[in-house]
């Protein structure tokens, strides 16, 4: 179970949007994808995905439709909208700014 870590607050939206950028996915798919791509480092309390998805829906950044899965089950698939794409860009640059800032602080600490 080593390497598991809590998500930084506010990054869940970013991860979901980024995940949906590649292809439409259902909730379970999104959770799996995040886990896989992050080499099991980022795990979400998977249920908390759903309030987040409702929030994104409400903002109009994603849209949802019911489709059949490969295993022939009905599931709701989420697709990134144009507004969502724009928002993703925004969130990424915000995140990068923050990372850069944290990096500078750490570098400063090392020099001291």
């Amino acid at each position: 179970m080593a390497g598991k870590s809590e998500l930084l607050p506010g990054t869940l939206d970013l991860l979901v949007l980024q995940t949906l950028k590649r292809a439409p996915l259902h909730g379970y798919g999104i959770a799996q994808s995040i886990k896989r791509v992050s080499d099991d480092v980022l795990t979400v309390e998977e249920g908390s995905l759903y309030p987040a998805l409702q929030r994104l829906l409400l903002q109009g950044w994603v849209k949802a439709e019911w489709k059949m899965t490969d295993t022939n089950r009905r599931a709701r698939f989420y697709t990134l909208t144009a507004a969502g794409r724009k928002q993703l860009g925004l969130e990424i640059s915000k995140f990068e700014q923050m990372m850069a800032a944290i990096g500078r602080v750490l570098a400063d600490a090392e020099e001291a």
Binding site: Y28, G47, Y50, P51
Partner: protein, 884 residues
């Protein structure tokens, strides 16, 4: 964020709202699918089916909570609000006693404060019914004895010409006419005004026209303006009254206009006819030294009151240089509002403060009831918390309950306020209501409802904050723990006890206020009048001009009235006077003592013309010399009787009898010899110090307007109708009006009424406050006892006497009461100092009142805590220990 995206969000939300059921269903399906996928994957990795399902659930998290959060995202909070409301209602339904008590208390507090605010709003907040009322000022002269004294006609003309600060200046004064519309002439009050009066106020007639400039010049046609009330009641509200004639004291006046319904002018509120002042009232307005007018002016744009005052003072100073009789006459300018509501302001604000304090007590009481309930519900709260309710949600439950109570209380409060306002406006006697035109607009309107809503919000915040605060203070989980009661009890005792101290202190303030006001009222009604007011019947006479034009005719009328009224059964004496006592410190004369150095001072003195019998009928005390006799008429040397205050002012350390006084110019026929001194008769308001007064024989200068005072052995009230009828029987018949007994005159005088009004209201508030705070104290002590049953049981098991237990509880209550009372006493003295202007003959720190309040509250507090203390002493230690 553009408007569009906000709209889009709203649209999506509404879309989901419409399909709420579907939303929930889809979400559930989606989450179920997720969990199944997880479980299947785990199963494929080799877990047993059950383990996999369990693991999937754990990893997924609390599904119910996720569902709730998703719902919240979509704006379904109101659903949970509805749950909260339903739950709160169920809670209240389970203990209706609590809900009813709480709502009643809140309704009472809110109702009282809203009703009083209704008056405050009508009098002090809503503008006067004139155009730009804040630019209107009352303009008068001023001198040492009267900071605000009337203008003389000559000074008015000069001020109007010489000032640079007023856009317009107009004057008014009161008068009366004998109106002849039917067979009997009826005396009616009226007002004389300069032609621009209504224009200055910015009032337009609703029918006909305003007076035109110059229509107040001598020789102009006689015209009249009707106020709305007169038009409705006397002329049936007919539109064709314009141009019609009305007979006032024998002269025909043409009606030119009708004033709007909203028009009211408090200084001349009772005027039934408004006429331009065509004549210069003989004997007064033909002299510069006779002041009988009041001014009202509109300030020029950009001119402040202070600038106008400086300007008019300057004008007055220039006139004083020119005319010796103007020496010492300054100017007074104050907002017209001040003239109209200045007197009631301190009373209204005091009442508002009283009602506010009552509301505070009510809220605190309800809050402490809520606290007690919160204590009792610790278990329920803890269980709900353990089952996943967030602290925020639990706090919201309390907030919802507080809000519900506040809303219900506010609704009830509006009902109480409406009723109270109607009641109070009805209680005010008509004569007083006329001077308070704002009374007509008191009622439930936008302002009062807004005020009630504001109060409700504040109350809701308080009611919600206290239990919510308590939730923050104590750890939720403690509730599940059996032994945790002790700490919670301590917390409660600290908070609840403080609340009770606040209540007690506020009750002390209200009780002391009521006590001081009551004592003032008592002092006022028992002030030394200088005569015996019992068994006196009085009325006013207005004799029709043509028939009573000559002094002999007036004299004959006096004698006839005295003969006829004196012959009525029980009547022992009848006196005539120009001015009834307990009216006003007005109708003054300027005098000087011949042979003394003189520097132009006015020596303002009340002038009363009285018949020889007058002092005897009043039973006034003659201190020196003699009373008047029938000989004291125009054919005999002119004489005068002084009151004690005047004797002391003008003849300090001398015997005034035999000395002389005269007018300022020492006119030979004004020189009078003092023949007697009477003890001060209260001529002005009950709370005014006595003024110097001179009494002249009425036979020296008879007049057609006068008052009659009759002493009877029987009831004065019973004599009144008989007296009026008898006087009306004289031919040609004089107008008789304003009949009232002297005692009524005193007890219904505006000063007495104002004091009575505030005493009863504050007294009522205080009584309610006392009741509420005793309920509060009882609740606190009783609850504390119930919380400490176990402790008490232990104490008793260890050998504590029942009396010791009882003493312990009583000591605790006594300490609370003592702290509350002491704090309250400080507050009471401070509050009394603030309402000093309403106190009469009582100091703010009146020791007997404060002692009485302390005693009343102390004893009541003892009684309120005795019952629970006794219950504590009866605790059976075995049961107490077993029950826990």
């Amino acid at each position: 964020m553009s408007v569009w995206s906000a709209m889009g969000r709203l649209g999506r939300k509404l879309g989901v709202l419409r399909r709420r059921e579907q939303f929930g269903g889809e979400l559930d399906e989606e989450m179920r699918f997720h969990q199944e996928q997880m479980a299947r994957e785990l199963e494929e990795q080799g877990m047993s089916r059950e383990d996999a399902q369990y693991a999937a659930q754990r990893q997924f998290g609390n599904a119910t909570r996720m569902r709730e959060r998703s719902h919240e995202v979509m704006g379904f909070q109101w659903e949970s609000v509805a749950q909260d409301v339903r739950f709160a209602l169920r809670q209240m339904g389970r203990g209706p006693g609590f809900a009813v008590t709480a709502v009643l208390m809140l309704a009472l507090g809110m109702g009282a404060s809203t009703a009083i605010f209704g008056f405050v709003d009508a009098a002090l907040i809503q503008p006067l019914p004139y155009a730009q009322p804040n630019r209107l000022v009352a303009v008068d002269e001023s001198e040492t004895a009267f900071p605000r004294s009337n203008l003389s006609r000559y000074d008015y003309d000069d001020w109007k010409r010489m000032n640079h600060s007023l856009a317009s200046l107009d004057v008014y004064n009161g008068t009366g006419y004998l109106l002849r519309m039917g067979p009997v002439a009826e005396p009616v009050p009226a007002a004389r005004v300069s032609a621009g009066f209504f224009h200055t106020l910015g009032v337009q007639p609703i029918l006909g026209r305003d007076f035109r400039p110059g229509e107040d010049a001598p020789g102009q046609p006689k015209i009249v303006m009707l106020p709305y009330g007169t038009w409705k009641t006397r002329f049936g509200g007919r539109r064709d009254v314009i141009g019609q004639q009305v007979s006032l004291s024998g002269d025909e006046y043409t009606i030119v206009g009708v004033l709007p319904r909203s028009f009211a002018f408090a200084p001349r509120a009772n005027a039934q006819f408004w006429v331009p002042m065509l004549d210069r009232r003989a004997g007064c307005e033909d002299r510069r030294s006779c002041h009988d007018l009041d001014g009202v002016a509109r300030l020029k744009d950009g001119v402040t009151e202070q600038a106008a005052l400086a300007d008019l003072k300057n004008v007055a100073a220039r006139l004083a240089k020119e005319y010796p009789e103007n020496i010492g006459q300054g100017a007074s300018v104050e907002p017209l509002t001040e003239l109209i509501v200045g007197q009631v302001r301190p009373i209204l604000l005091t009442l508002l403060a009283g009602a506010g304090l009552l509301l505070l007590i009510a809220c605190v009481n309800v809050a402490s009831l809520l606290l007690v309930r919160a204590e009792k519900r610790r278990r329920e709260i803890a269980v709900r918390g353990a089952l996943g309710a967030t602290p925020a949600r639990l706090v919201r439950q309390f907030v919802t309950e507080g809000l519900l109570l506040a809303v219900a209380g506010c609704g009830g409060g509006l009902l109480v306020a409406g009723g109270l306002m109607t009641l109070l406006t009805r209680i005010v006697p008509k004569s007083m209501a006329e001077g308070m035109p704002f009374i007509d607009i008191v009622g439930l309107n936008g302002h009062t409802i807004l005020f009630a809503a504001g109060v409700a919000v504040l109350a809701a915040l308080l009611l919600a904050a206290i239990p919510a605060l308590r939730m923050q203070l104590s750890d939720l989980h403690e509730g599940l723990n059996e032994g945790a009661r002790g700490t919670a009890g301590r917390l409660w005792r600290r908070l609840g006890a403080n609340l009770v101290v606040v209540e007690l202190a506020v009750a002390v303030v209200l009780l002391a206020g009521a006590g001081l006001l009551g004592k003032s009222l008592y002092r006022l009604l028992h002030v030394d009048l200088g005569f015996d007011a019992t068994h006196l019947a009085t009325d006013y006479v207005m004799a029709p001009g043509p028939a009573y034009a000559k002094p002999e005719q007036d004299m004959a009328l006096y004698r006839e009235i005295q003969r006829r009224v004196g012959a009525l059964p029980g009547v022992t004496g009848v006196g005539i006077t120009s001015d009834m006592p307990i009216q006003c410190d007005c109708d003054t004369d300027w005098i000087r003592v011949p042979g003394r150095p003189y520097h132009g001072e006015h020596n303002e003195t009340l002038e009363r013309d009285v018949s020889p019998e007058y002092f005897g009928v009043l039973r006034a005390k003659l201190l020196e010399g003699r009373m008047f006799t029938d000989e004291d008429d125009a054919q005999h040397p002119y004489v005068v009787i002084l009151n004690e205050t005047m004797a002391k002012r003008d003849f300090p350390g001398e015997d005034p009898v035999g000395k002389q006084i005269a007018d300022l110019g020492l006119t030979p026929k004004s020189v009078r010899t003092v023949v007697g001194v009477v003890a001060d008769i209260r001529e002005g308001a009950l709370d005014d110090p006595p003024w110097p007064a001179e009494y002249l024989p009425i036979y020296h200068a008879p007049d057609t307007n006068f008052s009659v005072v009759a002493r009877t052995r029987g009831s004065a009230a019973a004599l009144l109708p008989e007296m009026v009828k008898t006087m009306q029987g004289i031919t040609p018949n004089p107008g008789v009006y304003g009949e009232v007994t002297m005692e009524e005159q005193a007890s219904a005088s505006p000063t007495a009424m104002m004091h009575r009004f505030s005493t009863w209201l504050v007294g009522g508030f205080a009584a309610m406050a006392l009741l509420l705070c005793l309920v509060g104290l009882y609740g606190v002590v009783a609850y504390s006892v119930s919380q400490r049953t176990r402790e008490i049981g232990v104490r008793m098991a260890l050998g504590a006497e029942r009396s010791a237990v009882q003493g312990m509880i009583l000591r605790e209550a006594g300490r609370l009461a003592a702290v509350g009372i002491v704090l309250g006493l400080f507050g009471a003295v401070a509050a009394a100092a603030l309402m000093r202007s309403l106190l009469f003959g009582v100091a703010a720190w009146d020791v007997p009142t404060l002692a009485a309040v302390t005693a009343v509250l102390g004893v009541s507090a003892l009684v309120a805590s005795f019952l629970p203390a006794r219950r504590a002493a009866r605790v059976n230690p075995v049961e107490a220990l077993r029950s826990e």
